[in-house]
Symmetry: C2
Subunit: 216 residues, 2 copies
Amino acid sequence: MSAKSMAAAVPLVSEAPARSEKPRVRDRIRDSAADLFYRHGIRGVCVDAIVEDAGTNKMSFYRAFPSKDDLVAEYLKDQERGYWQWWDDAVAPHAGDARRQVEALMQAVVDLVKAKAKNDCGCRSSRGCALGNAAVEIPEDNDKLNAIVHDYKAEIRRRLRRYAREMSAREPDSLGDALMLLLEGGYYTRLTFPNNSGPVTSIAKAARALIDAHMS
Amino acid sequence: MSAKSMAAAVPLVSEAPARSEKPRVRDRIRDSAADLFYRHGIRGVCVDAIVEDAGTNKMSFYRAFPSKDDLVAEYLKDQERGYWQWWDDAVAPHAGDARRQVEALMQAVVDLVKAKAKNDCGCRSSRGCALGNAAVEIPEDNDKLNAIVHDYKAEIRRRLRRYAREMSAREPDSLGDALMLLLEGGYYTRLTFPNNSGPVTSIAKAARALIDAHMS
DNA sequence: ACGAGATGTTACTGACCAGTCACTAACCTG
DNA sequence: CAGGTTAGTGACTGGTCAGTAACATCTCGT
């Protein structure tokens, strides 16, 4: 946790580079979990599979996380953080121009889909939205996890409605919601159209048409 | 399966109506499974829970279904059949007018959302699309179940593109795909906006705007 | 009333899975 | 080098779950 221990992870002298510096167990677990949860679903991945993938063991897991659910919560929050990072990067070049920001966002979705696999920004896309998919699996009485997903989706809605307002659209809330439907539909359909030819490839064009319709 | 056994389910004379004719075990299992799978997800419902809800026992279950997976396959196909029924009913009043058919379909989605709970046609909506949600849970190596979901989504896409073509839209495939994104987004967001105020309430308006944009 | 097919009961197997325990080994820091 | 921290091992508990076996009962058409 301390700055000192962080520095210690960096080799002071060049050493046998056979295997790069092994990160802390906790981080390896998080990385493995992110990968496995995303690909196989949360209920489809057991703790043993995670620790095996992370090259560690169950005791180290439970020393780092009180329970599997706590790891899931961290996974969801990590995915959310990464998503907002990706979002902000996509819209940053057009600050002050809400319309261009939305268009850049939608184009970024298309680019993500057309990218080979996991790309630099750490965003996975081949199975759509990690948080949305989690909503299918989280039991309804799990308030903690459901709240994470709900807050995240509510923030998406809030942002898109704000863009619509900023571009002075007619009925900005309707436009914002419509854009959200496109976006969510894009993620959802990735589950069954994992190739680069699914309906999501039309999302940028559709968004432009929708915006035009609200800019009389 | 035979016509004779079907007829036997219909009482020939009026009889004690205390409890309506108890359907065959197999059908009760299917009904319970449909309800539980939809509400809690497929991996979240065990065989014991299904047979208890159906008022039967595990042996009768395995006499009627070779495995849980076979029940899941039937569940998915049942849901699909019910969905097309609902779809066809929604568009039937506007046969020959593709644009009105799409508009009626989207309005039917809104109506479904605004309906209190499960409605007459047997369509459930509070947790979105049963088939789409299943796609989150089905392991990638389960070709049989994945094929069911894929074919279903491909048919949605095919139909919407056909409507777009029939209404002589510009770039009909793009319009069809855009409509599909709206539709799928509507289902997906139902998971996290289960009330009647989610983005899906804007779907009919959004669809009209999109169609307009393709009808210059 | 009878037989056959449909259904129920109980108990079981084997696999999986979350979480724990006692103990050991490596490593960093002072 | 001492003592704390971090990580690894293997065995274990208690629970869940899919699927099966043997046997008992019910129902319905004839």
